[in-house]
Symmetry: C2
Subunit: 261 residues, 2 copies
């Protein structure tokens, strides 16, 4: 009856399926029909059909015992394709490795997408104390070092839009005031790197430096994350220095050339 304004250009059944896929998270990697149906507000029969189809194509895997579902290997394959074709990943991988070998801290490559930073590559340190992050995770721009450093170099319309959407407080440290943010972004442009100190999650610090492509636009960032205890101000400064040089190298490989005048 009251269907949502039937958009002639999209497929509602496909949307259902994609939403179903997005229900899976690292915390909840296994779901049953009813759970998914509830999350999406769809009938069990519909979800059942969707999942059967997804399973047939290997996008989802059904446990014969519990009749619950997990993501299937087909999505891994797609993920692999993306990885091998995102230039920023290809070019950055080895440099990240060197970084981890030298500092033994976790590093990421992040890119801007849809007013969020998305981690597209990750290299873990061997420390017993690790920060749980995962590929593809979207984080807000205003409370992460990668987000801020990317945002700092965006067009002011982007910055305005981020502010308009609201600077949601995630911890007591989150920057929630537009003016403070603008001021900080200007400082970041001067420094060439950004910090985040417990602004997204309590006790998690990070440092990030901007990556540019051949159009000179900042499209992503290299960022190191770790626990506050290890990430002292001095250490973060020293990490920043290396991250900046790595980010320049990656930018270079993406066709960016420093000011020629």
């Amino acid at each position: 009856m009251e269907r949502q304004a039937a958009d002639y250009r999209t497929l509602s059944s496909l949307k259902n399926a994609l939403h179903a896929l997005k229900c899976f998270t690292p915390e909840e990697p296994e779901l049953g029909i009813t759970q998914i149906a509830d999350k999406l507000g769809l009938s069990k029969s519909t979800v059942h059909r969707v999942m059967t189809t997804l399973a047939e194509e290997g996008f989802v895997r059904r446990d014969e015992q519990t009749h619950r579902y997990r993501l299937g290997l087909s999505v891994l394959s797609l993920g692999g394709i993306i990885m091998s074709n995102l230039e920023i990943c290809r070019e950055g991988q080895h440099l990240l490795e060197e970084f981890v070998n030298r500092f033994d801290e976790t590093v990421h490559l992040a890119v801007l997408e849809d007013y969020a930073t998305v981690y597209v590559s990750k290299l873990e340190c061997k420390h017993p104390v690790q920060i749980a992050t995962h590929l593809g995770r979207k984080n807000p721009l205003h409370c992460t070092s990668s987000g801020k450093v990317i945002l700092a170099y965006q067009d002011s319309t982007v910055i305005d839009e981020v502010i308009r959407r609201g600077l949601r407080p995630m911890t007591p440290n989150t920057i929630t005031h537009p003016d403070t943010l603008r001021q900080l972004l200007s400082q970041i442009r001067k420094d060439g790197y950004a910090f985040s100190q417990s602004e997204l999650r309590e006790g998690v610090h990070s440092v990030a430096a901007p990556v540019r492509d051949y159009t000179r636009q900042v499209i992503g960032a290299v960022t190191a994350v770790g626990p506050a205890a290890r990430f002292t101000p001095e250490k973060m400064k020293s990490l920043a220095k290396t991250l900046v040089s790595i980010s320049k190298e990656i930018s270079h490989r993406l066709g960016y050339y420093e000011r020629v005048r």
Copy 2:
């Protein structure tokens, strides 16, 4: 009109979309509407709707210039979830790292899926001469070292089925005779590891050892791949020794305990 026997339990439109996603490969990461429509034998309008929906949900990304499509970051996110939840990956990662550090050769974790080996994890060596492989890629069982070593420990009905499906020759070296294969599999069970010498692709050799889970079933393999020039018989033997010990360690972490009595 002559629709395909409308299966009441699956969604044809969703299938179309999933097939569309599967059109993307590392070799062809960017596709236009018409290309996809041709590949799938669907009308342009249908594909257009599918792609628009996929794009809206971030599963695909549309280049504003060329109006062609690439995979989007949503699939990366799903891939990340799978990676962090496939026990075999989690447990294997560090061991693979050690292997790469020691031998500087590319290693994979592969699992059995749908009568094929699928690479679920990969660590590249730094050699300039590399073998192009990618995550999620399915390869036949009879002509890869990982495939053979997994197959060797499967129920004989699985082996029969593989043979029934045909031992497709990929190179002059591919084993195409059922008896030869059976004999080799029995040898592999004795050795505890398998080789492949240019059986899948000319000039590409590999070595693999089996990984078991707590049910004692062989569910995957650790495998090293490289160019024939570097992979001499002696070297492969030595790699095999290490791979076997790594595979045992992974199996152990998956709850497998060696024969008790």
